[in-house]
Every structure is written in C-alpha cells, then in structure tokens.
Symmetry: C2
Subunit: 399 residues, 2 copies
C-alpha cells in the first residue's frame, strides 16, 4: 500500500506500486482504496483468501472499475482486506485480520468489503470500491457510518473483479460525506438510464422497519423525518404477498447455489482451509435440493415484478439498512449467525430484484452508527446518490 | 508449481516459473522442491504466513541453497507449504492446509517443513529443501519415513531464506532413498571440514531411548541392530550431568526469545492472525524473564562442551528421532502439545549444540514410520549422510 501507516489494518500490505491517474475529473484531489477483489496492475488479488493470493500472480491490467477511478482523477492508495472469498457480512478474516471500524472501534466493521469501509471510516482515504453480493457494501457502510451504494445489477462492470455469485455480484462504493458520495457516483456511474424525478415518491417498507431492533426505532424515525423533509411524507408500502422470511430464503438458496458453482473447481482442487462459517455456506450450496433452487427463482421473479410495480419509475423504498448497529468485536458464532439471519431479511430485497440501494449514515443506535436506505428502480443509481447527497448533513470537511 | 497435479496439497499453488538448471552434477536427473521459506526468483515467499505472502512481492534472486541445487543439476518443481512462520512441529497450516503424509495418510506429516516431506514421501519430487530450527526437518522426516539432515549450524547458507530463530536456524533436506540422500548431501554440503573415520564410534543415548514410547522399543532395537551391523556394537553414553528436561527448557527459552526478537516488528506492525499455538509461543517469548534466558545460555554452553567431549572427532550418538510415530490427523490441542513437549527433549540435543543430525527411516511403530538418528561432531555432515546411505536398505527405485 501507499500509506506510511495503517493503524486500522484496513489494507493488504502489498509492496507499493502507484498507478498513474488523470489530472482532472470527479475524483480529482481525492484518494481511493480498492477491495482486494479488483485487479490493480502490479498487484496480486487475494479475494480475502491466502490460497487465491498464492494462485494470483501479479495482475497485468486494472479492473474496469479501477480504471474508471483513475480516469476520474482519483489517487489510488491501496488494496483493502476482504472477508474470505467475500462470503460473509462480518468483516473478520481469520487469515488477514479484522479491519478497525473507524466509527465504532469496539464493533466489527461489517463485510465483506471490510477493509474499504475501515479505510474510509478511519480517514485513510476518501472513497473506496467494494463489492455487494448479499450486502457486502451496505452492511459495512451501515456499521461504519458511511454512505454506500449497491448499484443496479450490471451497472458497474465486474471486469477484472473476482466473483462470488455472478447473478447477484455488484460493484459498489463508500464515502464518508455526501459530497464525496456524489463525486464517487459521478466517477463510477456516469449518467442514469432511468433517472428519478427531482422529488420521487417515498414509500416506507413497514415490514422491514418491524425487523429492526426496538431500541433503534426512535433513531430510525428521526432519520426518516430528515428524509421526509426533503421528499415529503412517506406513503406505506406493503411488500407482500410473499413474506420477507421467504424472500430471505430464496436469496440464500440462489446465492449459495451460485457461489458453490462459481467456486466448486477451486475448492475441490485446492482444498483451502476456510473460515468454518464460510465453509458451511459452500457446503450448504453444494447440497441444495435443485427443486428448492428452482422454486427460489420463481420467488425472485415474482418479487422483482412486485418491487417494479411498487416503485414504477418515480418511487423509492425506505428501509433500515441493517436491523441494528454493529455487533461487538467479541461476538461469536451463534450470535453472529442470528444477526446475519435477520440482516439478510433486509439486504435481500434489493439483491433479489437487482435494484440499486443507497445507504445513508443518518441514525445511531446503542452508541454506534446505523444506516437507513433508499431502494430505487433499476437505472436510477446516480439519482439515488444525488438524493443521498442532498439529504446529507452539511460536513465542514466535505470538498 | 510445475507439476500437473498435487493430490498431496504439498505445494503452494504459485503460477509456474521454471528456473534454468545445470546439465550435470550430483542432482542431475533428479527433481527437487523447496520449502516456501527460500526465495526462488520469479516467486513470492510466504514462510507459511498469508501476511508475509502479501508483503513479499516477487523475489528477484534465488536463495543460495536453491542456487546450489540448480547448479547441481536438479530440476525445481515447486515451493512447498510450511507451518506458519515455521514455528511448529505439526505440519498443519490453518491458512494453506495440511500436506498429506505419503507414508501414513491418516497421520500428520510433521513440520514445519511439512510440504517438503509430503512432496518427497508422495513421490512428487526426489529430494527437497527444508529448514530445521527446533526439529522442522527431523520431525517430518521421521513421520513421513524419509532420510533427513539437520546440518551443523551455519553449514548451508541461509542467504535468501526466512528466519525463525537465527541462532538455531539451519537449512536441511529430505530424500526417500539412501542413494538420493547421498546425492543431496553432495549437492548441498560439499566436502566435510571434519570428516568422520570410516567406522566411527557408536554411542547409544540411553536417556533418549527411554523417552520413546514403550511400544516403539522393539522396532528401535532392530534399527539399532542394523546400524551396529555396519558400525559395531554401540557403547553407552550418559548425557548428564544436565537432565534432558533442563536441556529441553533451555532450548525452548532460547528459541522463543530469538523468535520473538526476530518477528517482533512484524507482529506488532501487522497484527497477523496467527494459529493459536504459534501465537502463544511468540507471546511466551515476549514475556520471558531475561534471567531465564541468560541461564539457558549457560546450559547451552555446558551441553555443547559435554557433547563435544562425548563425540570427539570420531563418535556418533544414536537416538530415536521422535518419541513415537506421527499423531493421527484428528489429534488436537493438548495431545499435540504433550507430544511436542516430549519430542523437543530429543530434538533439542543437536539443536542446542549446533551439531549435525541425520535421521534414517529404519523403524516402524503403530503402523507408521519412526526415524532413528545419528548426531555427529560439527563439520561431519557429509560423513553422516554417507553413513546413512551405507546403512540404508537397498531400494530398487534408487538411481
């Protein structure tokens, strides 16, 4: 990495190679970091796995999202730690360590884009690239008090980026301020194919709010009020007829099925010793009943239609990003699995549909940040980022 | 690595770069592997640690021991898995896996030169480089049914090799047959400064034999008889006045003290998540009482004088390499620590003194190999290897 110090253990400690960047553009004067799933010429790519790192060799070319950032004038400062094979929401890596949550140092940072969220939240860079398959940008953004975008599926190229489950993989990003979030959006998104109107319809997902911790409700209500001051009062949206519980299972089946197919050859050939929870997820994907997977696809298609109908071209869905602020660093096994179970109920909504979701750091709960999110129609990504930037509190450090 | 297949998981899966080798020499026609502590130009070096691997970059030069093998006509086939930072005798690496013991697939291979012993014992190469600080060649050689040499301290250059505890670190090697062991000795040792006579005095370390499992005694006695057929009846050697227990502690203090000093900056700066037993050893080295370390140095100096007196220029000490055959793969925590404790009583004798030790795969116990060893005076390394080759059973596959 290119920094003198990394007190947050956010970065992979690769020998520094600094790629050239454009002199101007939306990221001019800003620094950026890159989750170690993206190739950067002159570096290996680990995907959070020591065995993938050994296999990697030095990459000759930048991933497309890295090239976009350099062309937008951003200065690359390093590659960041990822959860192993990006298949976790926790932000702990038994091989490379746990990056520090800059907003709540006694909490897990969230993952799998843990190092990117850590680097931005600790002020070690301005913006950062992550990936979000099942929540890997949104969860750490919520935990670390950052703006984060999971874009429309396919919006930012995955070229040169390691995959987890291709049907759900997206390239996303983090920023500490609304102003930086907007510049990141301009760099990585370009123009919207389907921009939102200036004041979109706000729809409140009551079933999603009901999943958040009771203690978090007052702060979430305040965050909602701040958004309503911009967009007007939220209407109620019913997500049914399919229950969140079923949507959540559909997402998990499909993600696990794809993740197993994507990694099968690697896992069988090299037998890498995985973090136990990650190993269990792959084994579960291996052993899934094809009928369950087939049914999950139907649930997915129904949900996509349902959400498209709710949002039309002018609606945004309001929901808590995560059910609570980040678990403490000493939280183990069952506690984390139960937290993950609840979190996926919220995270699956945009993921299953392939719709964009922006998370805003507008709430706090139990002394740590909690994000609130807007899901927009496909292709409205930059509009969501612009909305988030317009809603963001003024920040004296924002450029 | 340069092999098509590695069913033993012995090798680090680096992209293949084949260095040139001489057309003739003692290793002509033989293949060799290299523990991933040695630099090979075109490869990174991990020392069994994902964080060291990330820091490594691609090495521009061969380690001196690698250069010797290439100059001796050996063909390099790959870098092998090491225990984490080479600080274990087990041969399990939580980041890169457990190489298969080719002689006893249900047993641990032993470490830290686990991948090298695995590669040779599975027939994936002919000879292999390892390092031995506290037993990391001798233990896996014994467990995998191989010939192995821990040389006189300083005999083979450590240039381009990662360190564990420099006062004890040595470069050693493995072979499957006596004939290959001899050719490896010719390649890596050159001529002896202090060769043994053709028929050295054989001294039996009764206190060391007493530490071996009762069930292993008949096989060890047979192995002794085979050696005596070559060298004549063994005389009795008393190791005292210092008890093996005290020698063992002296070794552990000194090794832990040096290992902590060697890795202190790395551990404090990067906070790598270590295998728990390895982390404990470093923490123990950090917290040692300097008076204990000072006393251990006196014990070491006394033992070196004692052993030099016993062996003179013409004696070799006979002892079991390990207290028993390899623990089973499912052996955990306390069982392995207790095995390590007993093993270090035997392994510390050559290590503390800096004298060379050759282990020969002449015994079996409980259905798996067990080595028997000869310790010679400093500088008698090639003589020991020649003795081992002369004692070795005929092997039809030996070149």
């Amino acid at each position: 990495m290119l920094l003198d110090q990394d007190p947050a253990h956010a970065f992979m400690p690769y020998p520094a190679v600094e790629p050239a960047h454009a002199g101007g553009g939306p990221l001019a004067g800003l620094t950026f970091a890159v989750k170690d799933l993206f190739d950067v010429a002159g570096y290996p790519t680990s995907a959070g796995s020591p065995v993938v790192l050994a296999l990697s060799g030095i990459k000759p070319r930048h991933a497309e999202a890295v090239r976009l950032a350099l062309d937008a004038g951003g200065r690359f400062v390093g590659k960041t730690v990822s959860d192993e094979l990006a298949y976790s929401l926790n932000g702990r890596n038994i091989h490379f360590g746990t990056p520090r949550n800059g907003a709540a140092p006694d909490r897990i940072p969230g993952g799998s884009s843990s190092g990117s969220a850590s680097a931005v939240s600790n002020g070690l860079c301005d913006v950062a690239l992550g990936t979000d398959t099942g929540g890997s940008v949104r969860a750490p953004a919520s935990h670390c008090g950052l703006y984060g975008l999971r874009p429309t599926h396919g919006r930012i190229s995955l070229d040169g980026c390691a995959r987890l489950a291709p049907g759900f993989d997206t390239v996303g990003f983090f920023a500490r301020t609304g102003a930086h979030f907007l510049r990141a959006g301009q760099a990585w998104l370009g123009r919207d194919a389907a921009p939102l109107p200036a004041s979109p319809r706000l729809l409140r997902a009551a079933e999603a709010f009901a999943l958040a911790d009771p203690g978090a409700q007052p702060a979430l209500a305040e965050a909602q009020a701040r958004i309503e001051r911009r967009l007007g009062p939220a209407g109620d949206a019913s997500l049914g007829p399919v229950a969140l519980e079923d949507l959540h299972w559909a997402f998990r089946y499909l993600q696990a099925d794809e993740a197993w197919r994507e990694h099968r050859d690697f896992l069988l050939r090299y037998g890498p010793p995985l973090e136990p929870a990650v190993a269990q997820r792959f084994a579960w994907g291996r052993d899934l009943d094809p009928a369950q997977v087939e049914n999950a696809r139907k649930v997915q298609a129904d949900w996509r239609r349902r959400l498209a109908g709710l949002l039309g071209g002018d609606g945004v869905l309001l929901l808590p990003t995560m059910p609570a602020s980040a678990p403490r660093l000493d939280e183990q096994g069952d506690g984390l699995e139960s937290y993950r179970y609840r979190a996926v109920h919220l995270l699956c909504l945009a993921g299953l549909a392939g719709f964009p979701q922006a998370t805003l750091p507008l709430a706090r709960h139990d002394g740590a940040p909690l994000g609130i999110s807007l899901i927009g129609p496909p292709g409205s990504d930059l509009s969501l980022v612009e909305l988030a930037a317009a809603i963001a509190p003024a920040d004296p450090s924002a450029a």
